[in-house]
């Protein structure tokens, strides 16, 4: 472990390489976290199935490219499919738990996530999958830093998606309705907003965001039926660090998490990278709660 740290110090290009690759995947984390914050803020629901929506989007891309579609075209398709799934799920399950205890939503969405991952495992098998987008690799600084083009493309696409999402929430009627509902659902109802529909659209929109991210994950990284939970945990961690409705914070925390995770994976060995993510979640929560507990408060 100390050897690895000294390598990082002796060869800054390796560090830079890790950080750049980390920032590129960090953008994906930030976008899924923003989706989670949206659902959490508007509906008071912690969606533990977030990561499963991501992986589901990835598998949709995998299935559609196997069927012959060009990989980049599958992104809107994956988003559309997960949007529909989110819409259906909302009316089947989520609408019944919107005004219940937050733990109920955690448990119910955890159940949904188990259903999705087991369905994926049954339908697509337990192998690690990757979709070849047909792009090459870019080298910088005389070949010392290698970044595959699809990761750069994914990063740019995520930025575009985030921009569209923010504009949508700021400008469109539905976006305004969503923000009004987040501020005060009762007042929104009084003013004639169909909050149930707003909830449905929010949940489906979040699923679509996750689906689009997932198809980028399938192209730039790898997918596997059981790696949804790490994505959920990362989103949750980012939201806890940044707070609800804090877009710059979410972006910063997401990019930072991506870089930190990559460096930790190098220092501790890749087999401990997920252990690092989950331990970091515990540490972040304990630390934040400890800060609050000195003021006789706790995380709410």
């Amino acid at each position: 472990m100390l050897d690895n740290i000294s390598i990082l110090i002796a060869a800054p290009t390796i560090t830079l390489d890790l950080v750049i690759n980390g920032l590129l995947i960090g953008a994906l984390f930030a976008l899924t976290a923003y989706g989670m914050a949206l659902v959490w803020g508007v509906m008071r629901i912690i969606n533990v199935a977030q990561g499963e929506f991501v992986i589901l989007g990835g598998y949709m891309t995998y299935a559609l490219t196997t069927a012959g579609l060009p990989p980049l075209l599958t992104i809107p398709c994956a988003a559309a499919i997960t949007f529909a799934l989110g819409y259906v799920l909302h009316y089947a399950v989520i609408t019944r738990i919107v005004d219940r205890d937050l733990f109920v939503s955690v448990l119910a969405t955890f159940g949904i996530s188990i259903v999705i991952q087991q369905l994926l495992n049954t339908v697509f098998g337990g192998d690690v999958r990757v979709v070849d987008a047909g792009l090459g690799t870019q080298f910088f600084m005389g070949g010392l830093i290698a970044v595959s083009e699809i990761k750069i493309a994914a990063f740019l696409l995520v930025c575009v998606l985030a921009l569209v999402l923010v504009l949508f929430l700021k400008r469109s009627r539905l976006g305004q309705a969503i923000r009004a509902t987040a501020q005060n659902p009762r007042a929104a109802r009084v003013l004639g907003i169909d909050t149930n529909r707003v909830y449905a659209m929010t949940f489906a929109l979040n699923a679509a965001i996750c689906g689009a991210c997932g198809s980028l994950v399938a192209m730039a990284y790898t997918i596997h039926p059981y790696i949804g939970l790490p994505y959920t945990i990362r989103s949750f961690m980012i939201v806890v660090v940044a707070g609800l409705g804090n877009l710059p914070g979410v972006v910063a925390a997401g990019l930072g998490l991506g870089a930190a995770e990559n460096i930790a994976g190098f220092v501790l060995g890749t087999q401990f990278q997920l252990a690092f993510v989950f331990s970091l979640l515990v540490v972040v929560l304990v630390w934040r709660n400890w800060r609050l507990s000195r003021k006789r408060q706790y995380l709410k």
């Binding site: 738990i97 733990f103 996530s113 188990i114 939970l229 997920l274 252990a275 989950f278 331990s279």
Partner: protein
């Protein structure tokens, strides 16, 4: 119900438990698992139902107990790194004779209990300051973090897991042997928790569930009570983990020892299915759940885990009060006055 009739349930359960392995010798390991599930559900309910702290991370203690027990069983006689390096049919064969095996268990299970309890004390001091959904997700993270650490730790077998020691020939029916371990543990756990909930400690635990701030204002040392309650869970779960490792024979870090997405959720589901915050609820829930699970495994080949996930959603969304909660609402007279007044308080 007065006099000895109060204990009809207990007597029936003990009688069935004693007779079951002789009546259904083919299902002994499933029934041993059932007794362990009862322990899981009861100890989960001590926090989740009685204290209002819903944990997804109790698998940590199961896994810690399981690994400790297996490591002690092996480590008393052989070198652990040799034992784990030789898995998959190496040159050396590791055998345990009768006394060695029993000694290993006699030291291993208490060691599992101690490490389980210690893990609960240490983690509890950090984690139990959180409340509600933050506690739930933090413990979920704890369970997976523990699984990932065990998965990367070469000394305890890393991702390829660890096998529990082979039983000597003197124990002719290994699943019956462990069935009785699990049975006794379940009885002890049930009696201990029954007793615990009747003491002042039980009242304090319920006070924390009802209003933690008020409980603290009344002078209860809430943090200490919470940690003690989790430690008691950790103690029993550590032993249960040690037994489960020997029942399953193979300790996989992610799928058996720290299986947050199976046992970790199932114990929550069992407690909710039976009725959160009741004494018999977890027991009934575990029995119903284990039977359903085995039926799923037999008749829904390949889809059983999907069906179980659906079951979680359905129970949580449509049947959150549980079997006992439902019965209590329908037939309050069966529960006498005390329970009725608790129902009026809105539990």
């Amino acid at each position: 119900m007065t006099g000895w009739t109060r204990y009809i349930g207990h007597i029936v359960l003990v009688a069935v438990g004693l007779a079951a392995p002789f009546l259904f010798p083919n299902h002994q390991s499933q029934m041993a698992e059932l007794w362990l599930f009862i322990v899981f559900a009861l100890t989960w309910d001590l926090l989740g139902g009685q204290m209002g702290y819903n944990s997804f991370g109790n698998v940590v203690f199961i896994g810690v107990g399981m690994y400790t027990c297996a490591l002690v069983q092996v480590g008393l006689i052989y070198s652990i790194s040799d034992y784990n390096a030789a898995r998959g049919g190496g040159g050396t064969v590791f055998t345990f004779d009768y006394t060695q095996y029993l000694e290993g268990l006699a030291v291993g299970l208490p060691a599992g209990a101690i490490t389980g309890a210690l893990a609960a004390i240490i983690l509890g001091n950090f984690v139990l300051g959180m409340r509600g959904q933050y506690f739930a997700i933090c413990t979920l993270g704890l369970g997976v973090a523990a699984a990932e650490i065990a998965n990367g730790w070469e000394w305890i077998g890393a991702g390829s897991g660890m096998t529990a020691p082979n039983a000597p020939a003197e124990i002719d029916d290994i699943s019956r042997f462990y069935y009785f371990f699990a049975f006794v543990l379940a009885i002890v756990t049930f009696v201990a928790i029954t007793w615990l909930l009747r003491t002042r400690f039980g009242l304090a635990v319920n006070a924390i569930r009802d209003d933690e701030d008020k409980a603290e204002a009344m002078g209860l040392p809430t943090k200490r009570i919470k940690v003690i309650a989790w430690t008691i869970s950790g103690l029993f779960l550590g032993i249960a983990g040690g037994i489960l490792g020997n029942v399953k024979r193979f300790i996989d870090p992610i799928d058996v020892a720290f299986s947050g997405s199976t046992i970790g959720v199932w114990m929550v589901l069992m407690a909710i299915l039976g009725g959160k915050g009741t004494l018999w609820g977890p027991v009934i829930g575990a029995i119903v759940f284990q039977i359903t699970k085995e039926l799923f495994w037999t008749y829904l080949l390949g889809w059983q885990r999907v069906a179980l996930g659906l079951m979680i959603v359905l129970i949580v969304v449509f049947f959150p009060e549980g079997i006992l909660g439902w019965v209590r609402e329908r037939f309050p007279q069966l529960f006498g006055r005390r329970v009725q007044s608790r129902a009026e308080e809105g539990r």
